[in-house]
C-alpha cells in the first residue's frame, strides 16, 4: 500500500516534468525561411466587426507578394495593456500595432513607435490619403499633431461618426434625413413610443465625450485650442458653446431614450438600432456592415446614412476615431522595413477600394468616392460627404487622462449626480491642471 502511495507521488512529479517538456517542446517556432521574401510580420489588432475585412485584404497581400502576415486579434479591453507591454519590452513581439487616435500621441511623443521616414526617407502620403487633421504626425517641438510633424503611423481604420437612420420609417412619415439638431429632436419626438420605439439614443458611457464632441465642434466650440503664434493652449470646455452643447447632448442622451440610458455605450446603441427600436443614431462607420447582416439585424436593407447634424445645414463636425497602424521602435531594421512595405501596400488606391468592398473602413477619399457609386455600400457616400467636416479628437499627449476625466464627469451629469454648469466648470479646472502638469502652456 505504501508503495502505491509513493508511486502515485512519483507519477505526479514525472507528469509535471513531462508536461513542462511538452509545453516547451510543442510550441517551438519554425522560423520562416525564404529567398527574396520579406520577414514574416505579425500585426496586433483588436477584434471588431471590420476585422474580417482586414483579414481578407491581408490574404490578398500574402497571395500577391508571397510575404507572410500573422494577425493577432485581441479583445479591445486588453489592447492597450498589450501595446504598452510590447512597446516597452527589450524587443517588440509584434511588427505592427494598431493604435487609437485618443492615445496614439503618447507613443509618438515617447518615440516608442518608429518614425516612418526614418525607416524609409522617401515615405510620404499621397494626396488621396485622408490625414484626419494630422492624426498620424507628431511635431515634437510644438508638442502636438501638425502638418510639420514627423509621420509615425498610417491611417488604416478611418472610423468617423455618421448618422444612421431608418430610411423606410423616415420616408413613410415624410421626414427628410436630419440635417440639424432640431431636425433630430423633431424626428425623435415623432417616433418616441416606449417601450416599442424610442426616438434617439446617445453615447453615455464608454467614452461619452465622443458623442459630445460632435455637438460641441458643430457649434464652433472646442475642448482644447492651440494658438500656434504664442504657442499656448486654451481650454474651451467651460465656454458658452460647451454649455449649449452639453444641453443638446443631455437631451439627446436622456429625453427620447430607454430607461437604461446611463448604461448606453456604442454596443448598446447599435443593438437598439439593429433591433429596430430607434429610428436613428450617430456612431462610427465601422457599425455599418452590421446593419445589413440579417442574422444579426432585424433592419437589414432599411438603414441609410448621412452626415452627423449640426446647428444649421452645412455646419457639421463629425468626430473621427481613427485607428492608425504604427511600427514599434524596438524592432530590427529588416522587420521595420517589412512592416512598412505592407502598410504602403494597403494605402494603394486599388487596394483601398478592395478593402472597402470587403467591409473595411478605408482611409482614401478617392476610395470612398468609388465605393459610393455602388448602392451596396450605402454608408460610403455619407463618409465621403463627411470628410471635409471631419474633426479630430484631442491633439496632446495626455488625451487618455483628459478623456478619463471627461468620462467620469459626463457619466455623473447623465446620472443626475452633478449639475451641468458645475460639471463643465470642474472639467475646465481638471483639464487645465492635467495640461499644465504635462508641460503645456495654458491660457
Amino acid at each position: 500500500m505504501r508503495f502505491v502511495k509513493k508511486s502515485v507521488f512519483i507519477t505526479m512529479l514525472l507528469l509535471t516534468v513531462g508536461l513542462m517538456v511538452f509545453a516547451r517542446g510543442s510550441t517551438e517556432q519554425v522560423p520562416a525561411e525564404g529567398g527574396e521574401r520579406l520577414p514574416a510580420i505579425s500585426i496586433l489588432i483588436n477584434e471588431s466587426p471590420w476585422l474580417d475585412a482586414f483579414r481578407k485584404i491581408v490574404d490578398v497581400y500574402e497571395k500577391e507578394t508571397g510575404n507572410e502576415v500573422e494577425i493577432v486579434g485581441n479583445p479591445y479591453s486588453a489592447l492597450l495593456t498589450r501595446i504598452t507591454n510590447t512597446l516597452t519590452a527589450p524587443e517588440s513581439e509584434f511588427d505592427i500595432v494598431i493604435l487609437d487616435e485618443v492615445w496614439s500621441n503618447q507613443f509618438y511623443d515617447g518615440e516608442l513607435v518608429a518614425c516612418l521616414t526614418d525607416i524609409d526617407p522617401d515615405f510620404a502620403f499621397d494626396e488621396g490619403v485622408i490625414e484626419y487633421n494630422w492624426a498620424t504626425r507628431w511635431d515634437h517641438e510644438l508638442g502636438t499633431n501638425a502638418e510639420s510633424g514627423k509621420i509615425y503611423s498610417v491611417p488604416i481604420n478611418g472610423n468617423m461618426q455618421i448618422l444612421y437612420y431608418r430610411s423606410d420609417l423616415l420616408e413613410e412619415a415624410g421626414f427628410e434625413p436630419p440635417e440639424t439638431w432640431d431636425d433630430v429632436f423633431r424626428i425623435a419626438e415623432y417616433f418616441y413610443d416606449p417601450p416599442n420605439m424610442y426616438g434617439m439614443v446617445g453615447r453615455a458611457t464608454g467614452r461619452p465625450d465622443f458623442g459630445l464632441q460632435a455637438i460641441l465642434h458643430s457649434l464652433g466650440g472646442y475642448l482644447l485650442d492651440y494658438d500656434t503664434n504664442d504657442r499656448t493652449w486654451d481650454v474651451g470646455i467651460n465656454k458658452p458653446e460647451a454649455h449649449e452643447a452639453l444641453d443638446i447632448y443631455l437631451r439627446l442622451v436622456k429625453q427620447y431614450s430607454p430607461d437604461d440610458y446611463t448604461n448606453f455605450g456604442q454596443a448598446q446603441m447599435i443593438s437598439l438600432m439593429q433591433s429596430g427600436r430607434v429610428p436613428m443614431i450617430y456612431t462610427v462607420t465601422a457599425a455599418a456592415p452590421n446593419f445589413d447582416n440579417p442574422a444579426v439585424s432585424s433592419v437589414a436593407g432599411l438603414v441609410n446614412a448621412t452626415v452627423v447634424p449640426g446647428p444649421r445645414p452645412g455646419e457639421h463636425a463629425p468626430t473621427t476615431g481613427i485607428q492608425p497602424f504604427a511600427i514599434p521602435n524596438n524592432l530590427p531594421d529588416d522587420r521595420k522595413q517589412a512592416a512598412l512595405t505592407f502598410l504602403e501596400w494597403v494605402l494603394q488606391p486599388e487596394v483601398q477600394v478592395q478593402f472597402g468592398k470587403f467591409g473595411g473602413i478605408v482611409t482614401r477619399q478617392d476610395a470612398w468616392e468609388t465605393l459610393a457609386e455602388d448602392p451596396k455600400f450605402w454608408w460610403a457616400g455619407a463618409v465621403a460627404d463627411s470628410t471635409p467636416y471631419a474633426h479630430g479628437q484631442i491633439r496632446v499627449t495626455v488625451g487618455g487622462r483628459i478623456f478619463s476625466v471627461l468620462e467620469t464627469l459626463l457619466r455623473s451629469v447623465v446620472a443626475g449626480d452633478t449639475e451641468p454648469a458645475e460639471t463643465l466648470r470642474r472639467a475646465e479646472v481638471e483639464i487645465h491642471t492635467i495640461m499644465e502638469a504635462a508641460g503645456y502652456v495654458v491660457k
Binding site: 515617447g110 518615440e111 430607454p258 437604461d260 443593438s271 524596438n330 457619466r411 443626475g416
Partner: protein, 302 residues
C-alpha cells in the same frame, strides 16, 4: 551508505525540505514584481526616446491618492460589495453545505449544482446576467412584461445597479464558499455528533455547539479568501455596468487598470495598488481580531 544518509537527512529536516519549494517559488517570482511595484509607486513614469523614464517624485502619488474622490468611491463600493456579498454568501453556503450533509439521496446532484457557478469564466457570467437584467432585451423584463409589468432598468437605475451587481456576485461566489465549507463538513468527526444525539441534543444544538466550532477555522479561511477575491472583481462589472450609473458600481481594480493603462499613469496606479493592499490587509486583520473577540479565543492558529 550515502543513500541512507540522504534518507536520514531528509527525514531529519523534512520540516524545512517540505516548505522549501513554496518559499523558492515565491521568492523567485514574487519579490521582483513587488519590489518593482513599491519602487514605481514613488515615481512618475514617462515614455521618453523609446523607453520608460522613472522620474522620482517622492510621496506625491500617495498624496494624490488621498485627494482622489473616484478612488475613494471605488474603494468604498468595493468594500461594501465585499462585506455584503461575503456575509450573505457565507450564510447561504454554510446552510447549504450542512443541509447537503443531511440528505442521502441526490446529494451528489445537489453538490455538483451548487459548485457549478464557479466553473464559468467571469466574462461568461457577465453576459449571462446581462441577458437577464438588460432593460431592453433581458429575460427578467420580458417575463415581467408577459405579466403586464414594466420592469425597471436593473443595471442603469441609480438605486438598483449596485444591488443587482451584488446579486450577481452572490450567485457566482456562493459556490466557492460552499465548496470550501463542504470539504470541512465532510471531515467532521461523526462520533461527536452521534454522542451529542445520544445525549439528547437537538440537531440545531449539535450544529451550533459541536459542528460550527470545528468548522470555524475553515469558514474563516473562506471568508478571508473571498474578501480578498472581492477586491479583484472586474470583468463582470466591466460588462454589466462599466462602473455606472455615475460611479455607483466603480470598483477599485477597474479604476487601477484605467489609471495604469488608459491614463498612462503607471506610478500613480502603483501607489493606488499599494494603498489597496494595505487597506485589504487591515480589513483581514480586523476580521481576525473580530473573530477572536467574538469567540474569546486564540484565533485559527494551531
Amino acid at each position: 551508505m550515502s543513500q541512507r544518509n540522504l534518507y536520514r537527512i531528509i527525514d531529519d529536516n523534512f520540516k524545512y525540505i517540505a516548505i522549501a519549494p513554496v518559499i523558492i517559488v515565491l521568492v523567485l517570482l514574487v519579490l521582483m514584481p513587488v519590489g518593482r511595484l513599491f519602487a514605481t509607486s514613488f515615481t512618475e513614469v514617462k515614455f521618453v526616446s523609446g523607453g520608460l523614464l522613472f522620474n522620482p517624485v517622492g510621496f506625491i502619488n500617495y498624496l494624490t491618492a488621498f485627494k482622489d474622490a473616484i478612488a475613494a468611491r471605488a474603494l468604498l463600493n468595493t468594500t461594501l460589495l465585499a462585506l455584503i456579498s461575503v456575509s450573505v454568501e457565507v450564510v447561504i453556503a454554510v446552510v447549504l453545505a450542512l443541509s447537503v450533509g443531511y440528505i442521502k439521496r441526490g446529494n451528489t446532484f445537489f453538490r455538483t449544482i451548487f459548485i457549478f457557478p464557479m466553473l464559468l469564466p467571469p466574462i461568461a457570467i457577465g453576459v449571462m446576467w446581462l441577458m437577464i437584467y438588460d432593460f431592453n432585451y433581458g429575460v427578467l423584463n420580458s417575463v415581467l412584461a408577459f405579466f403586464g409589468v414594466r420592469g425597471p432598468a436593473w443595471l442603469a437605475n441609480n438605486m438598483l445597479a449596485f444591488p443587482s451587481i451584488i446579486i450577481v456576485d452572490i450567485w457566482h461566489w456562493t459556490s466557492f464558499v460552499f465548496l470550501i465549507v463542504l470539504a470541512g463538513v465532510e471531515t467532521l468527526p461523526h462520533e461527536l455528533s452521534e454522542s451529542g444525539r445520544i445525549d439528547g441534543a437537538t440537531e440545531l444544538q449539535i450544529i451550533r455547539k459541536i459542528q460550527l466550532p470545528i468548522l470555524r477555522p475553515i469558514i474563516m479561511t473562506a471568508i478571508v479568501t473571498r474578501t480578498i477575491f472581492a477586491f479583484k472583481v472586474y470583468e463582470q462589472i466591466y460588462l454589466l455596468t462599466d462602473g455606472g450609473p455615475g460611479n455607483r458600481t466603480e470598483v477599485i481594480s477597474s479604476y487601477i487598470m484605467r489609471v495604469y493603462f488608459n491614463e498612462n499613469r503607471m506610478g500613480y496606479a502603483s501607489a493606488l495598488s499599494v494603498l489597496t493592499l494595505i487597506f485589504i490587509a487591515a480589513l483581514v486583520l480586523f476580521f481576525y481580531q473580530l473573530q477572536k473577540r467574538v469567540f474569546n479565543e486564540r484565533g485559527g492558529k494551531a
